[in-house]
């Protein structure tokens, strides 16, 4: 991509201090988000997706510390910016967040419309009626009827609340919207409608979107580029077609073959043995090593480096040159469940 990125992140790490020790929730994560693209971050629960976002938005809890070489929004450094300036000039107006528990983020005692009007007026000098007509517009964008503005959150279904939160994030025309699991726990039809709205928003408004989910199918449909996270690191990053056509990382290969598709009835599924790693303590090797059927001795003792395969395709694996063979073998269940 020739454009300059809207968001640049280099070597972002986050640790949490806990009574059990240090949790290395995010390790050396680097990525770019380009204008007007959907950047998908996929990974299972506990792999650090939400933590990554919290670090970007400066919403880490007290026991969390983040550290990065660079975080830039349109060339402006965010990590050196003061807390106050960040809140006033970036949050909401440049980067907006639809949090993971968006469905419960509305205050139950205020009308939904009033809550959004309030948020707009906190950031701008708009009059109440101006803000109100803005909210009407936004409701229209996300497909909610404008008379719903005067309802209370409990009168909304889960999908409607989620859409109201998306409307709120759009209020100040941010250049980047981050959505953490926007459809998890919703029914397919509701999910479909929300995803369609997100697509429309992107084509009408020149926002970039970071979409976080554990659902490979959703991410495949929505994203231009995808990063696959595991154990607090990005394992593989590529254009979504490339990622699905020529996946190179063993974890991506596993995930890809673990998902049943309604279009391919009767295909053999693969399951990755073991369970996601605990992020307690410092990593000394590849985090996927314990579950990886292709691991070699080096994987235990050394942390792999990010290798670029060209075309914006990056892999975090020692055996990236063996990708074609691994791709072949990964479709068979026996590869994953022979003792290695």
């Amino acid at each position: 991509m020739s454009q300059s990125p809207r968001l640049e992140v280099r070597n972002l790490s986050v640790r949490y201090q806990t009574r059990g020790g240090e949790v290395h929730a995010v390790n050396q994560v680097s990525f770019d988000v380009f204008p007007n693209e959907v950047f998908g971050i996929a990974g299972e629960s506990g792999c650090g997706k939400s933590t990554l976002i919290r670090a970007l938005m400066r919403l880490l809890p007290e026991n969390g510390v983040s550290d990065a070489d660079l975080i830039q929004y349109e060339g402006q450094s965010l990590d050196r910016m003061s807390e106050k300036k960040f809140r006033e000039q970036v949050l909401w107006s440049k980067i907006a967040l639809v949090p993971q528990s968006a469905m419960n983020s509305l205050n139950p005692v205020y009308r939904v419309g009033d809550q959004i009007i309030e948020a707009i007026r906190n950031h701008t000098s708009q009059e109440k009626h101006e803000a109100r007509s803005r909210v009407e517009e936004l409701f229209d964008v996300v497909g909610l009827e404008s008379d719903l503005m005067d309802s209370y959150p409990h009168e909304f279904s889960g999908g409607m609340r989620q859409r109201a939160m998306i409307a709120m994030s759009l209020a100040l025309d941010p250049g980047l919207i981050i959505m953490d699991e926007p459809t998890t726990g919703l029914d397919v039809l509701v999910q479909e409608r929300i995803l369609r709205r997100i697509r429309e928003i992107r084509s009408h408004i020149a926002s970039s979107i970071i979409l976080i989910t554990h659902d490979i199918a959703v991410i495949a449909e929505m994203s231009d580029r995808i990063a696959v996270m595991y154990g607090g690191r990005i394992m593989e990053q590529a254009q979504s077609e490339d990622l699905f056509d020529t996946p190179c990382h063993p974890y991506t290969l596993g995930l890809k073959n673990a998902f049943p598709s309604i279009q391919k009835l009767g295909q053999e599924l693969v399951s990755i043995p073991g369970s996601p790693p605990s992020l307690l303590g410092k990593q000394t090797g590849c985090p996927f090593e314990a579950r990886c059927p292709f691991s070699i001795d080096q994987c235990v003792t050394e942390i792999p480096k990010i290798e670029s395969l060209g075309k914006n395709h990056e892999v975090f694996c020692f055996r990236n040159t063996d990708a074609p063979q691994m791709r072949e073998q990964a479709t068979s269940m026996s590869t994953w469940h022979s003792s290695n």
């Binding site: 029914d187 397919v188 369609r196 659902d215 056509d245 995930l255 399951s271 990755i272």
Partner: protein, 339 residues
């Protein structure tokens, strides 16, 4: 002979309106028709999938079949015998024959039971076998769900991961050597990388141990993978039932069509259609007598809401759908337009 048969099974819940509402505003007690006139058959060694949106009555159906909830009317027949007329002896036998796997592995294990005791509890409660035999069966069962008995038997549930817990739940159902297993969303609480493992395990065991399975999920991709036949429910009614490939590849009912076209596909190159329906699912409170899909259906006309519906065979096959206007709907085969 069918292993299980549901005949016009209906379950209503009463929603309590407040006293003030009832007396002063004249609001009557309202009924939620969670399941309405459900008819279905489960054959020996068959896996039937039930799909539908949240609140459409899937769990209620499961609880009724498992005998944990009484239907308001209708009959559940197991091997031709009415389940509600079972005496104590029969009931014990039924509890032995029919097992249930619950949705939430974090909730369905007693936190104060060790894994071994959890799995052994069913056989012990029904005194199926002498203790030594129970022990050996429990151990081999733990082995076949991939949990080493020596390593896991003594642990408590909080010492296991979600996937391991769900394996324990499966083991404690299958150790009873059931003829029929009811699985209510057994994967939805699990991490994506381990779902396939549990799914394959269940599929594999169903084949090896010869049990029939009723598998409930709102995820059609998973059902497409495991079920022989598929039943689609909408607001307490079955709207379509048939062989899985038929239902998924040639859906007949407008709701099924919408549902299937809404399923995302894990492949960025495949573009699917847009479902042509509007509105949200509601709660089945005092629904109209006719088709409950009417408010959202693009094909609805006056006949739909007035006349009571029954599942009807599509071209005399075992693929059934409940819609007054099937011919119109199937005519317009391009129900969905491409993205």
């Amino acid at each position: 002979m069918a292993l299980l048969e549901l005949k016009d099974v209906t379950r209503h819940y009463e929603v309590k309106t407040g006293l003030i509402d009832r007396v002063f505003r004249g609001k009557p007690i309202r009924k939620i028709k969670a399941v309405e006139s459900l008819n279905m058959v489960l054959n020996e060694n068959e896996v039937v999938g039930i799909a539908g949106e949240s609140g459409c009555g899937k769990s209620t159906t499961c609880m009724i079949i498992a005998g944990l909830l009484q239907p308001s009317s209708g009959e559940v027949l197991y091997q031709g015998k009415r389940v509600d007329q079972f005496n104590t002896q029969d009931q014990r036998w039924y509890r032995h024959q029919v097992q249930m796997i619950f949705q939430d592995p974090y909730e369905s294990l007693n936190p104060r039971f060790r894994i071994f005791d959890t799995v052994a509890e069913g056989p012990r409660a029904l005194r199926l076998w002498p203790e030594s035999e129970i022990a050996s069966k429990v151990e081999s069962m733990l082995g076949s769900v991939g949990l080493e008995p020596g390593k896991y038997g003594d642990r408590y549930p909080h010492e296991l991961s979600g996937g391991e817990r769900q394996r324990v739940v499966i083991a404690s159902a299958l150790v009873m050597e059931p003829r029929m297993v009811i699985a209510d969303e057994p994967l939805s609480m699990l991490d994506v990388s381990i779902r396939a493992g549990i799914l394959e395990l269940l599929k594999d065991l169903a084949k090896k141990r010869h049990f029939s399975c009723l598998y409930v999920s709102h995820d059609l991709s998973i059902l497409g993978h495991i079920a022989d036949r598929l039943m689609i429910m909408y607001l307490g009614q079955a709207v379509e039932i048939g062989p899985t490939t038929e239902v998924i590849q040639k859906p007949q009912h407008p709701y099924t069509k919408a549902l299937i076209s809404a399923v995302p596909v894990p492949d960025p190159r495949i573009k699917r259609g847009i479902p042509k329906i509007s509105g949200d699912i509601t709660r089945p409170i005092d629904p109209p007598p006719g088709c409950r899909f009417t408010p959202r259906c693009p094909y609805a006309n006056h006949t739909c809401s007035e006349n009571f519906l029954k599942l009807d065979s599509v071209q005399k096959t075992n693929h059934l759908a409940a819609c007054h206007r099937l011919d119109v709907v199937s005519h317009e085969s391009e129900m969905t337009s491409m993205v």
